[in-house]
Each structure stands twice: as structure tokens, then as C-alpha cells.
Symmetry: C2
Subunit: 235 residues, 2 copies
């Protein structure tokens, strides 16, 4: 399922596997071999080569940039892992009939909505409900896949799905954050944020769901490790 | 900027350019040469080879699938081209101060909103306004680039930007269509759709902006021509 990452695991574990590259602890260790020399001549491999050849000296920045971004992958894995119970136990309450979730979880949602003044979760507007449907039907099946890919690390096949996921979620957050910041909640049935401080507190709850997807998006787009997927796959 | 498409143009125009492949009128014409033989042995090139070898006979479907999707590219170019005046002349009226657009355009928007009962364009909710900001700041600069890429054809560098664009726009449309179908417009300041027929008429105005981005997304994801970007780039 993930040949790239399997190679990476081999490289990490025992120094074998595909020669020429190994992702380990955020640095890039080239293992030159005759078979990989032609691909290392390619312009696309140049940053990786520079990073590796430069070691931890002056070109250390380039090495870090070209390396498998492990701390970010772990953060993404944690993000997707934590999203599964949040979606199933909390967010889905806005879609499913009342009484389907245990009373303790319903009370937790009520407590959250009252404390952080989030009327959207108790009485979601139609556009917000559409996003929760997307979360349940499109995102939820993706979460375990993303956990697997980012926990294992180096799974480059996650690039396009992750770009789609992060763009989708960032777009939903643009609308949600605008609603939190500027909507007039005074006529809302459930208590909503009124003061600037209340709006910012509620915004801070949702903000990680914009920032982390944006970090995923930029990692997939600009990190050389994920950017040159097929160029390494072909070897 | 677009070496792939330049090669394609060369192939189309004078039969020269990169040997081995040419995208023309929706079919795939291989021009075997010793220099391209190794790359044609790669599994990724198999559908293209089959299509080309099969000509317009039994393998015609495979040929079409692997070929440069010209009619779709032209449709996408037309879509992005038409979006520029719509965004600048109509949609931006919801953001910019009144009086900045010519009175005739303001009247056109008023007529549209009254005829198709679209209160969102006259008094946009905050979440909808966030999407128009995205349209103005993120999408509008992309439109001429996309027109260029799809009009020229075969520009594979458009794949990732097009995936991001189409995912973003499809997500905005999920919210907009849910709002049109299910929101209670009876308390709206401006006339909104009330009957099922009125909702479906308004929905039909927005629907192409879901369907075409979805077609772009699926083309970028599943059309072999766009799917194997780097695999051909490396030749």
C-alpha cells in the first residue's frame, strides 16, 4: 500500500532498502550507490543532494527542508486521530436524532455550547449542517487513512488526498470564522458570542482546524519530500 | 513555463518535438523512436501505448482515456474565461462600496436577484461574504492562469492548482446549495425562494459552479493524461 514508506522504514530500521536516500529524525542521509547516480543527477534531486552533501553545516537548512518532515507528520497523525472521537461523539450530534448519543455526551455538548457560546452546534444553520455532513461522509472515512499514513511516515501517496482534505476544511473554516467574527447572534435562539472577547474565545476553538489543515496543505505543496512524489516513485 | 504543452504543440503543429507521443483531437498517436523506447516500457505508459497501438479500433476507449482531454480542456477554459467578467462585474458588487460599479451593472444585479430570488447577492450573510472574498482574492488571480493552461492544452503543471481550486469551489457550493434548498427565507429582507420550484430555479443558477469544478477535479485525479504528471515530465 505504501511502498515509499516501506522503503523509508527499511532505511531507518536497518540501513538497507532503496539506496540513495533515508529519512531519519528530520535530516537527510544520502547513501550513494552506482544505481542511484543517474537519478541524483536530476535537477529535482538537487536540494536533497545539497542537503545531504552539506551535512549539518552551512547547508543544514536545505537538508532540513528536503528531509522527511517527521515532527509535522506526527502532529498531523495526532490531529487526525483526535478528530475521530470529536466527529463521532460530538459533531455528529448535530445530524443524528436526539437520544442516539449517551446522555453524558449530550450534556458535554450542551456544556461546551453554553461555555463557549457556540449556538452553531446546537442549532446549526443549513450551510453549517452541510459541512457537518461533509465531515461525516467525506472526512471521517479519511481520518484513519491519514492517521496510518502520517504515523507510518513517508507515505507519499497521501499527498493528493491530503491536499484535497486540507483545501476542503480550510474553505469550511473561512465561512465558519467569518460567521463567528461578524454574525449578529442577538436573535439566535441559543446563546452566541456578543462581545469581541467572546467571539475571539469561540474563534480560538475553531482556529486549529484552519491552521493545521493549512500546515498540511503547505507541507504537501512545498516540502521537497512530498513535492517530488512521482520523481522518487519511479526509481 | 509549460514544457509539456510546448512539446504537445510542437507535435501537433509540425510532427516534431518530443518523440513518442502527441496529443491531438482526443486521440493518442505514438511515434516510436529508440530514444523513447525505455520510457514506453514503463507501466505508467501502458494505457497510452495500448490506446495508440489499438488505434481507433477495439482499444479506442483506452485511447480516449489516455489522451489529452481536449474537449474538457476547452470547456474548462471557457468556464474560467466566463468567470472573470462574472466575478469582476457582478459578484464583486457584494463587497465593493455602492456606486463603484456602473449603474447598468447595479441594475443587472438587482434584476437578477429579483428574477431568480437570490437575496444572498444583495445582502450576503457573513459566511457567503467570506466566499466572495475568496473568489476575489484567491480565485480571480487564478482564472487567467487557468484559461491559459486549458486553452493551450496539455499543461500538466495546472494539475495541483486545479485540484485546489476545484475542491475549494465545490466546498463553497455545498454550503450555498444547502442554504438555497433548506434555509427559511421568509424573514429575509430581500425576496428569497419560497416554493420548491423557486429553490430549484435558483439552484440551477449555482449548480454549474459545482458540476464543472467536480469535473475538473475528477479529470485531474483520474484522467491518465493528468494523473501521471511527473512520470512523463522526467523524459
Amino acid at each position: 500500500m505504501c511502498p515509499a514508506s516501506r522503503e523509508m522504514s527499511n532505511n531507518r530500521g536497518n540501513g538497507r532498502g532503496r539506496p540513495g536516500a533515508a529519512c531519519s529524525r528530520g535530516t537527510w542521509h544520502p547513501t550513494p550507490s552506482p544505481s542511484s547516480s543517474s537519478s541524483l543527477q536530476a535537477p529535482a534531486a538537487a536540494p536533497q543532494r545539497r542537503g545531504g552533501a552539506g551535512g549539518r553545516g552551512g547547508a543544514g537548512g536545505a537538508a532540513m527542508a528536503a528531509a522527511c518532515p517527521r515532527w509535522r507528520e506526527r502532529l498531523f497523525a495526532l490531529y487526525f486521530l483526535s478528530h475521530i472521537p470529536i466527529t463521532v461523539l460530538i459533531d455528529l450530534q448535530a445530524l443524528l436524532p436526539a437520544g442516539l448519543h449517551p446522555p453524558s455526551l449530550t450534556e458535554l455538548l450542551q456544556w461546551y455550547a453554553a461555555t463557549f457560546k457556540d449556538p452553531m452546534m446546537l442549532q446549526p444553520p443549513e450551510w453549517f449542517k452541510a459541512f457537518i455532513y461533509c465531515e461525516a461522509l467525506l472526512q471521517l472515512p479519511f481520518f484513519p487513512v491519514a492517521v496510518y499514513a502520517f504515523l507510518k511516515g513517508g507515505c507519499k501517496w497521501i499527498r493528493t488526498p491530503a491536499i484535497i482534505y486540507s483545501t476542503h476544511v480550510a474553505t469550511t473554516l473561512f465561512a465558519i470564522l467569518a460567521h463567528i467574527l461578524f454574525h449578529d447572534f442577538s436573535k439566535s435562539k441559543h446563546l452566541g458570542p456578543q462581545t469581541q472577547h467572546e467571539r475571539l474565545v469561540l474563534l480560538s476553538i475553531y482556529l486549529p482546524y484552519l491552521l493545521i489543515p493549512l500546515l498540511i496543505l503547505f507541507t504537501m505543496l512545498y516540502n521537497p519530500y512530498y513535492n517530488h512524489v512521482e520523481k522518487r516513485k519511479r526509481k
